[in-house]
């Protein structure tokens, strides 16, 4: 690890720490309906939206109604995105002429299964991309379908987190707030202003924002280069801030047009974690004890640093097999060294590793380097981040409600050890809470493990409908343990609504599109609904006063406990699978073992 690399990571963390309180405080005010400095400008717009949509601002919802609204909104969003994609050939802003069939040049047809996968993906804040943006989607789809979801799916996530916070904050109440109001406020006051400023900043630093067709350039050596452009900045901003991660281009934030300079890179990583980090403060503020919020922040910070330094260390050390061939892998003499396969020179090792960790700490899923080409240990970190349900700052909203579910489990086990019925923030943790927290953890584990298992052995006829390449493992770009990692990562990413990938795997087949779409749905609602159920149950409870007999849920002991709960539950669930993927690959890499594509023997 180089001093400048370590400095980069430390400075990043300090800046993140600095924005947490102001942003968190602002969000607390927004969701508590207090006046903010943006009200003169946005309040009339907010009222207009309520009038247009028939929303009664002052009516409160029980958790079941809240959940029903969430589901209804998600369903309509899904149908909307699906329809626009399938109809893109008939819609405007389509200079490259993308459609559902017979595409021009190297374009990808928008098949029903791909449209399903993409619609689910953006509606669930996953932004998994089975397609390459610049070869598949018109500007119309990118703006009116995907950008919109970048806003509202993030706002929906925050809404659920706010509902859960209210569950902790309220005493003996039936209701959790109003989903429509929370969604509108999140979009209007939080996402829109931040995105507006960020988009302008990005464009100033080199990110294109145009509706013109792709540019044809005659290169210095002669051949023509077609340069894809588009309304990138306006989509990039919510993509980062709303932990969406769906790139305008296939290469995502590694693409120089999405992320042109080291400064944009720094700001984009910050944008990944800013709102989620702020929400920890919002939480503390709204439950009336900011120490509680900082307690969560500290646990997240510990896990963040552990992940980022393991990942950075491993990438820095590089690939010993390549080193053997005579490549300089140490950082020296004006070159970055380390494992540069799948990384951009302008970012280098440290900020690539930081991004890989941050994007999977959160449910962002954007990449500025290709995780598939990471060293096994370096790639293990993002994968493990996914498998522990992305609670290290996490997705907008989903990070907070995710870590709160872990806190429920941690409090329950450890709380017993202080000799009381476990309680968190004065709320007794009982059957319903434990049941719902376990449901959330189990369903995501189910989707990851069972679907990965299916794909490890499923066989299809080659050139058939479901999976034209043949067996499900024929879609892999790598053989050996790394191929297995591609499958495991894909389902971890989809189930956790992340969207990043070990991208060598070709997932644009009906089999993978449908299965991954299903995993995203399970991951999104299998986590949100239990969180809302817990919120509903907690809101009705009394608040037990704090005494010296109460387990303190801040301070070093609590942070250690929460960290241990997250790591141990994740490790115990996924250790067997991981040991056949990145863990064994790490050992094999050091033994110099490589794998070439073999035709798979018939499944026996």
């Amino acid at each position: 690890m180089t001093p400048s690399g370590v400095l980069y990571i430390v400075v990043f963390f300090l800046v993140l720490l600095a924005v947490t309180k102001p942003l968190g405080l602002f969000m607390a005010h927004v969701y508590e309906g207090k006046r903010t400095f943006l009200h003169p400008l946005l309040r009339p717009l907010e009222r207009l939206i309520y009038r247009l949509c028939g929303i009664r601002e002052d009516s409160e919802q029980r958790w079941t109604q809240y959940a029903a609204s969430l589901l209804a909104f998600s369903l309509v969003s899904f149908l909307f995105v699906y329809a626009i994609q399938r109809l893109q050939g008939f819609l405007p802003f389509n200079p490259m002429g993308f459609s559902t069939g017979h595409p021009p040049g190297n374009a990808t047809p928008m098949t029903p299964d791909l449209a399903f996968n993409t619609a689910v993906s953006f509606m669930t804040n996953t932004n998994w991309q089975a397609y390459g943006g610049e070869t598949t989607l018109s500007y119309f789809v990118q703006m009116l379908a995907l950008t919109v979801q970048n806003f509202v799916s993030a706002a929906a996530g925050i809404a659920v987190a706010i509902a859960l916070i209210r569950g902790f904050a309220r005493k003996q109440m039936d209701t959790l707030g109003n989903f429509w109001v929370d969604l509108t406020r999140g979009t209007l006051y939080v996402m829109l202003p931040l995105c507006f400023v960020f988009a302008i900043f990005l464009c100033a630093r080199g990110v294109p924002q145009t509706l013109e067709p792709y540019v044809k350039a005659k290169t210095l050596e002669g051949p023509t280069q077609t340069i894809a452009v588009g309304p990138v900045a306006s989509q990039e901003a919510p993509k980062m801030l709303g932990t969406n991660g769906g790139g305008f281009f296939n290469a995502n934030s590694a693409h120089p047009f999405e992320n042109p300079t080291p400064l944009t890179n720094f700001m984009e990583i910050l944008a990944i974690l800013a709102i989620s980090s702020g929400l920890t403060y919002t939480f503390g503020k709204m439950v009336g004890d900011t120490r509680q919020g900082w307690g969560l922040f500290a646990a997240m910070a510990v896990l963040f640093f552990a992940g980022v330094f393991v990942c950075y260390g491993s990438e820095r050390a590089g690939n010993p097999i390549l080193a053997h061939l005579g490549i300089e892998t140490a950082a020296a003499r004006g070159q970055p060294g380390g494992n540069m396969e799948g990384k951009e020179v302008r970012f280098g090792i440290a900020s690539s590793a930081l991004w890989a960790t941050a994007t999977t700490d959160a449910s962002n899923g954007s990449v500025n380097s290709m995780h598939d080409s990471y060293t096994p240990l370096g790639g293990l970190i993002p994968m493990f981040n996914l498998q522990t349900d992305e609670v290290i700052f996490g997705g907008t909203g989903s990070g907070l409600y995710g870590i709160l579910l872990y806190a429920v489990v941690g409090v329950f086990i450890a709380g017993l050890m202080v000799g009381r019925t476990p309680e968190y923030l004065g709320k007794k943790i009982e059957q319903k809470e434990v049941k719902m927290a376990m449901v959330a953890i189990i369903v995501t584990a189910f989707a990851i493990l069972v679907f990965s298992a299916l794909c490890s052995v499923a066989k299809f006829p080659a050139h058939g409908y479901w999976n034209p390449p043949g067996p499900a493992t024929a879609n892999l770009a790598n053989d050996g343990p790394h191929g297995f990692s591609e499958i495991l990562y894909a389902f971890s990413s989809a189930s956790e609504n992340n969207g990043s990938a070990f991208a060598g795997i070709n997932v644009n087949t009906p089999w993978y599109n449908l299965l991954l779409g299903l995993a995203m749905l399970i991951g999104r609602f299998g986590f949100m609904l239990p969180a809302l159920a817990i919120a509903g149950s907690l809101a009705t409870k009394k608040k037990v006063p704090v005494t010296s007999g109460t387990l303190p849920t801040y301070g070093a002991l609590w942070v250690g406990l929460l960290v241990a709960t997250i790591v141990i539950v994740g490790a115990l669930t996924f250790f067997p699978a991981l040991s056949l993927g990145p863990i064994v690959e790490q050992f094999l890499m050091h033994q110099g073992k490589t794998f070439s594509m073999l035709i798979f023997p018939v499944w026996s």
Binding site: F196, T210, L220, E221, A254, G334, M340, G342, G480, A503
Partner: protein, 192 residues
Amino acid sequence: MWKQLSISVRLVIVMTVLTGFLYPGIVTVLCQWLFPTTANGSLIRVNGRVVGSSLIGQNFTKPEYFHPRPSAAGGGYDASNSGGSNYGPTNQKLIDRVKNSIAEFRKANPDYKGPIPADLVTASASGLDPDISPASAEAQAPRVAQARGVPLGEINQLIRAHIKGRAAGFLGVPRVNVLELNLELDRQFGHR
């Protein structure tokens, strides 16, 4: 439930107008007005013709140009089909490709004897990486100098002038933009 759906439909439409139409529309108008160059892709024109984008790498194979990193975008530096190799560290294909690159590099640059900089034989994430490390540029300098018949010192000076450094001691990695450097070569020593 019917009421929920009705609100949902109306809200999706309102949000689409707001965040899918007004927001990008306003941002587009503003950016085109404020930053016309970057908003249109930081294009480089020579004699009025677009030769590329300063942010997008392009392929160079001739000895008189500095060569960029291997690219996995389409057939190589296809700026409408970005992407990395996605080869894992134990993939034989990765090893073979790197071996080839090393062999080619050694053949083309017989004067360079040192270890090969890691970035020069590995594929970038986007396949469109516009940069190489200063070390990678310096390793190619003797070849370029020989091909162009100019002193090595001038080439090295040109490289040093094109190094973008590390801001504030941590932001960014020292690098050289290949297209800009090659354009400068042509400008100074003539297009061949």
